[in-house]
Symmetry: C2
Subunit: 305 residues, 2 copies
Amino acid sequence: MANFDLHILGCGSALPTMRHLPTAQVIDLRDKLYMIDCGEGAQLQMRRMRIRFNRIGHIFISHAHGDHCFGLPGLLSTLGMLGRRGDLFIHAPEELRSYVQMILDSFCRGMDYQVVFCPVDTRQAEVVMEDRSVTVYSIPLKHRIACCGFLFVEKQKEAHIIKDMIDFYQVPVKAIQYIKKGEDFVTPDGEVVPNSRLTRPAEPPRRYAYCSDTAYSPAIVPQIHGVDLLYHEATFAEADLPRAGETFHSTARQAAEIARQAEVKRLLIGHYSARYDELDTLRDEAQAVFPNTTLAQEGMTVSLS
Amino acid sequence: MANFDLHILGCGSALPTMRHLPTAQVIDLRDKLYMIDCGEGAQLQMRRMRIRFNRIGHIFISHAHGDHCFGLPGLLSTLGMLGRRGDLFIHAPEELRSYVQMILDSFCRGMDYQVVFCPVDTRQAEVVMEDRSVTVYSIPLKHRIACCGFLFVEKQKEAHIIKDMIDFYQVPVKAIQYIKKGEDFVTPDGEVVPNSRLTRPAEPPRRYAYCSDTAYSPAIVPQIHGVDLLYHEATFAEADLPRAGETFHSTARQAAEIARQAEVKRLLIGHYSARYDELDTLRDEAQAVFPNTTLAQEGMTVSLS
């Protein structure tokens, strides 16, 4: 099966600590890279994790808080210095347009590639980007400023040919591409062989949902229902629930509550407040509600299978 | 003697590597902090080196290339989150004004402190900043865009009192402060005791010169003559001299040549190109011209004494 990997570059929050970097992730799907958020130091983490800069085609930014976008200037500059030529698409709330433009005007003149800014309406779930491998939807989140998550849905794969049946019906090679897409086969005698006799269904498309930053918001549950992997922010422990409310962040228990309601397969939590030296409490509080919870950490790669 | 320490946060150049961070330094002089350049990741390095954010009063930026200023947004945001109240002064070429203003407008609204942008004329040596501890001068450099170094000159310290002579002449306590500043003492009988009999001279003021980024520029030699410590960029080895010329950078040998001509006490080189895995060549080429040369490295602290 083609790869669908999530690389965690950073999973801390705004205040710098020695334990975590600000938010940045890279999805490696069928050998194309998609970046989600780009906190300060993201490009250095990519070097450390040996992620190749030039395979990034799209960057998705959730919102205009610095710990989610202060790595962009360095990354955009580096791509230029490395001689990139292909367009780079940045999908982000409108609030970030002037920031991106200022970076380009001030620091990226004369570079050989174009940055295309694609505004995202954070108030509704809509298709943000689509290519041959994936469709990306926005997930409206509840934060202090306009903010959305992103749902990555792998494109439906082609059905698997059952070779013995292909041989049995003497299906010509040129017909196979249509059968893979679901068509029936008509023999030279006019017999209709139903597609289901010639193929096994493809694996269901894999889905990854990224939800950060957000207050507890059950409204997102229907959209992310049953995803293979949910990354949900868990800035605070339950003891700091009031602080979570004030700042429009979630507790680990609330993240797990969303995962439980959405019946996701696996939950990854992150965006830890700098106040916690140890994350045992966050993990325990989440696992009490949703056992298949993992603490994100820098340098981690999670494969969707 | 009061401390005068230079902390190296980063000494790489523009392309990220796993060996170096982009340029940033902090001077700790009489327990006040002065930052020079602020490459991406500078605030994280400060955490690692346990340098306290809130003791910074002034930041000096040499020029508007990203590897010297992409750490500013994160640092300014963090200072706000930490509840800073005192003004912060940024001394930088005019080109950086709009960048700083955009950071403040987009990411620092509602914070409790003011950032004061102080433009520096990079074309001439002039006083950039002066307080009770230090006078900072600009050093005009030769780079692709407006760029200057910075010369830190410690304020003249007071002379040391010779206690035996103070006792001998029965100098009253209130007169001592004037004697420390150089005045003679007149006894009740009208006898004039010359200051030189009552004091030993203070140590000469220490001086630190920061010169990055720059092509080989002997024009700076008179201004930095005899400094206690010179940090001079040494982006390239001698084998890449043509590339140094094209990019307005220096080779290690050229940095050492400046140090030799200026008869500085010690040379620190940095701003290494990402192309060098090992720095032995740069060090050897510099030491052949100026033996008291040290390779800068991340996390290093150099004390001026």
